[in-house]
């Protein structure tokens, strides 16, 4: 569980390991060809409001549908117009009026109507339908068709992140008539406005898309056909890539970074996404409720060792307890915890647990890097007298224990990613009791920070928000309710003949910009 995406600065943050754009890609894009993408997570559902299999579902929906707004497919945490050409915010941030893009057609040739938009947004706002991510529909009241090309949305309160909230899958626009007529059957042969349309879907095996001839961006997409081959085994994905059985592969394991760098046929691409190793602390457990202890734990972490030893240089040292998000201040403004054993020991000495204590750390089974990380944490915290017992948990059990607060320390999700590029969602979970998650299941609460987060989430003004967040970021880091061990990038690899492989801030490939230098030779 837990795999969703969010967006922030999609710039390649690791120049050395980043995309080396092949010379051929400098040329003008060529149309045609088909591309095989070897993907870690399988697609199970094509219903964007009921995506239960995380990225496997999300990335397929991203090709089939569009929202009113969208994250820049080329990266960057700015929002671009999607099916809405433009919008106006009024009524103190409680009313949004969207002007729809003209001439947009669904992949079956039907025109996009304001009714479709209203229909889709109302589904988004109905918690009975939007079960998966109702949190992003916070404050949604209703949508009204103003005219053929105008839709107004009213909110119950100002929601600063609203435009971001509707940029992701629950708010994708679907054709009202067909959905109503066909019911559940619609999602088997879905119709959307995205760059591709469904060609064939073989459960557990692959899903194939073909060019949507009615796509609204001129000349795009370039590819005739895209096929996602599901391959949960990483060796298998890489073999397929090396074998040219696939041209792109996602989920490149950290251990393969170095070997892949040496491969002439393959380009390794790291993209910053709001993903991190979130280590949750249970504040119901005495030693962990002690701020000095938490600080000591932060200070005792040798993050460089973690980064280089385990993540093979990928990732970055965080200056936040949350993953990298929009508005995050830089290290100069909010400095990260340094690795300082002496200071850590001093903090321990100040705490009520100066003599050290024993605790447990549970993490998802089946990931070698968590195993190694566990060992390293055990080792590093052992130096300040914290004895950590490691427990591997089957994912489902782990989630269960996390949700019921039955843990000391836990890494609750194997892939821990924010759904949005803005901090509203995660900050709310952690600090807003109204989220109902009891401090994101950590039992932590801090009234002061709660108040700041509330204000932040309801402040429509961008500049204002950009000023507020670093303060919250710093306050949270000081408090360390949870520990962000390290920020992780998304790592994909593709063959050199594949161009335009940018990944948006949500971690999704937008294959409408992708093209093959060897357009006819692929498959």
């Amino acid at each position: 569980g837990g795999g969703s995406s969010g967006g922030s600065d999609p710039a390649k943050f690791d120049a050395a390991g980043g995309t080396a754009v092949a010379a051929e890609c400098k040329a003008a894009p060529v149309k045609g060809g088909s591309l095989v993408y070897s993907r870690q997570a399988e697609t199970q559902s094509l219903n964007p409001i009921d995506l239960r299999n995380g990225n496997g579902d999300i990335f397929a929906s991203e090709l089939l549908y569009n929202g009113l707004t969208r994250a820049d497919p080329k990266g960057g945490d700015e929002l671009l117009p999607g099916l809405a050409e433009s919008w106006e915010v009024s009524n103190g941030g409680k009313t949004y009026t969207f002007k729809l893009r003209q001439g947009v057609k669904f992949s079956n040739g039907d025109p996009l109507t304001a009714e479709d938009v209203k229909f889709s947004l109302d589904r988004f706002g109905d918690p009975k339908i939007n079960q998966i991510l109702s949190v992003v529909a916070v404050g949604y009241d209703k949508a009204t068709v103003v005219d053929d090309s105008t839709v107004r949305v009213d909110l119950t309160e100002p929601v600063a992140a609203f435009l971001y909230n509707i940029s992701i899958f629950p708010a994708f626009i679907v054709p009202k008539k067909l959905v109503e007529e066909q019911g559940d059957a619609f999602w088997k042969t879905p119709v959307g406005t995205g760059p591709y349309r469904l060609k064939k879907f073989v459960r557990g095996s692959y899903i194939a898309f073909e060019r949507n001839p009615h796509y609204w961006e001129d000349g795009k997409p370039y590819l005739d056909e895209v096929r996602f081959n599901f391959a949960s085994d990483s060796n298998s994905r890489l073999l397929a890539l090396k074998n040219d059985q696939a041209q792109i592969a996602d989920g490149v394991p950290f251990s393969q970074i170095d070997p892949l760098k040496a491969d002439k046929n393959v380009v390794l691409q790291q993209t910053k996404v709001p993903q991190f190793v979130g280590l949750w602390l249970n504040h119901k457990r005495a030693p962990l409720a002690d701020l000095n202890v938490r600080k000591a734990m932060q200070l005792a972490l040798d993050r460089d060792q973690i980064k280089n030893g385990i993540f093979k240089g990928a990732g970055s040292v965080p200056n936040s307890v949350l993953p990298p998000l929009k508005y995050d201040a830089g290290a100069d403004q909010v400095p990260p915890y340094p690795f300082d054993l002496a200071q850590a020991k001093a903090e321990m000495a100040k705490s009520k647990h100066a003599q050290g204590f024993s605790t447990t750390l549970q993490y998802p089974a089946g990931y070698d890097y968590y195993k190694q990380l566990g060992l390293l944490l055990q080792n590093q915290w052992g130096q300040i007298g914290i004895k950590v017992k490691l427990i591997e948990e089957d994912g489902a059990t782990g989630t269960d224990r996390f949700n019921s607060g039955d843990y000391d320390m836990t890494i609750p999700y194997a892939q821990f990613t924010s759904d949005l590029t803005v901090p509203d969602e995660y900050a709310g979970f952690l600090a807003d009791p109204a989220s109902g998650t009891n401090g994101f299941f950590s039992n932590w609460s801090d009234p002061a920070i709660t108040k700041m987060v509330k204000t932040f989430a309801t402040t429509p003004d961008e500049a204002e928000r950009a000023k507020q967040w670093p303060v919250i970021q710093k306050a949270m880091l000081d408090q360390t309710p949870v520990i962000n061990v390290i920020n992780l990038p998304s790592i994909t690899a593709h063959r050199t003949n594949v161009c335009g492989t940018d990944i948006n801030a949500l971690g999704a490939d937008h294959l409408e910009n992708t093209w093959l230098t060897t357009a006819k030779a692929s498959r």
Partner: protein
């Protein structure tokens, strides 16, 4: 050999007798015995033999190929694969022996009872056997792991729950033949209780083929451990188990073959050793004294 011994030779020690008995077996059994013997020795004395601790991380020696310092190379956190293999072997052998030889007598007993009594008893036991065999084992292991917590405990509970059934089926079909044997009839004729007939007379005779089968089972179980580790259901960290080592190394298989291959080879050697013994035994060439 005409030197007649007039005085009986001094009775050799139990170990000596065992050794002598092993030595009288056919060549493949002997080779198998030596292979397994070496591995058992290595496992038992792992703490003395291992040059490094099993969890000593060394970020200055990541992914090094086999060398004098690291006979089996290092893994991607610089742990010495050889040391981990030795320690892993230790746990593996213990676990595998447990999950193989705990269900064996239970299964044999159940099979013996079913075959001996026949009729309703047989019907009931046979159905239970059928259900157990038909049950997707992986569900059970995952379920147990989820209940008792991850690690070898789940495997050590889960495997025996299922594994007895194979032995039971084997023993039952043998019992059907055995019970018509005059010496089994004789237990009835002699007025022995059924309990005695089954426990003292039938079970020891049913053991042999189960023991032979168990040599296959040993290997299967060892592979199962590895397979479950591959699926993330194996040993609790940080300590190693062969399957875990192999499964972990699997991520590096394309660039660091030794992490998977060398411990895998140990597995193979164990399998070959046990297999040779089992082969020899099933050829009916076992010489000297009954078990």
């Amino acid at each position: 050999m005409s030197t007649a011994t007039l005085t009986p030779p001094a009775r050799p020690s139990a170990a000596g007798r065992l050794l002598r008995r092993v030595w009288r077996q056919p060549l493949p059994v002997r080779i198998g015995g030596v292979l397994v013997g070496i591995l058992v020795f290595a496992a038992v004395f792992a703490p003395l033999l291992a040059p490094y601790g099993q969890n000593d991380l060394d970020f200055n020696a990541q992914l090094q190929g086999p060398s004098l310092a690291h006979p089996m190379g290092t893994d991607d956190t610089g742990r010495d694969v050889f040391s981990r293999t030795l320690y892993g072997l230790r746990i593996d052998l213990a676990v595998v022996l447990f999950i193989t030889y705990v269900p064996l007598p239970i299964g044999v007993l159940m099979g013996a009872i079913a075959g001996y009594f026949g009729g309703k008893v047989d019907l009931v036991i046979s159905r239970i056997i059928d259900i157990t065999i038909a049950f997707p084992f992986i569900v059970l292991v995952i379920a147990i792991v989820a209940i008792v917590g991850p690690g070898l405990t789940g495997i050590m509970i889960g495997v025996p729950i299922v594994a007895w059934a194979l032995y039971a089926r084997l023993a039952r079909s043998e019992m059907l033949v055995l019970r018509e044997q005059p010496f089994m009839l004789a237990t009835t004729a002699l007025g022995y209780t059924r309990r005695r007939a089954i426990l003292r007379h039938a079970v020891p005779n049913l053991m042999r083929s189960s023991l032979i089968y168990s040599t296959v089972d040993l290997v299967v179980n060892l592979l199962l451990l590895a397979g479950l580790s591959y699926l993330g259901l194996g040993m609790q960290p940080p300590n190693a188990e062969l399957g875990t080592i192999i499964a972990e190394g699997q991520a590096n298989l394309l660039n660091a073959w030794w992490i998977t291959t060398l411990p895998g080879l140990v597995l193979v050697v164990f399998g070959v050793g046990v297999g040779l013994i089992g082969d020899g035994l099933s050829d009916g060439e076992l010489r000297g004294g009954g078990a």
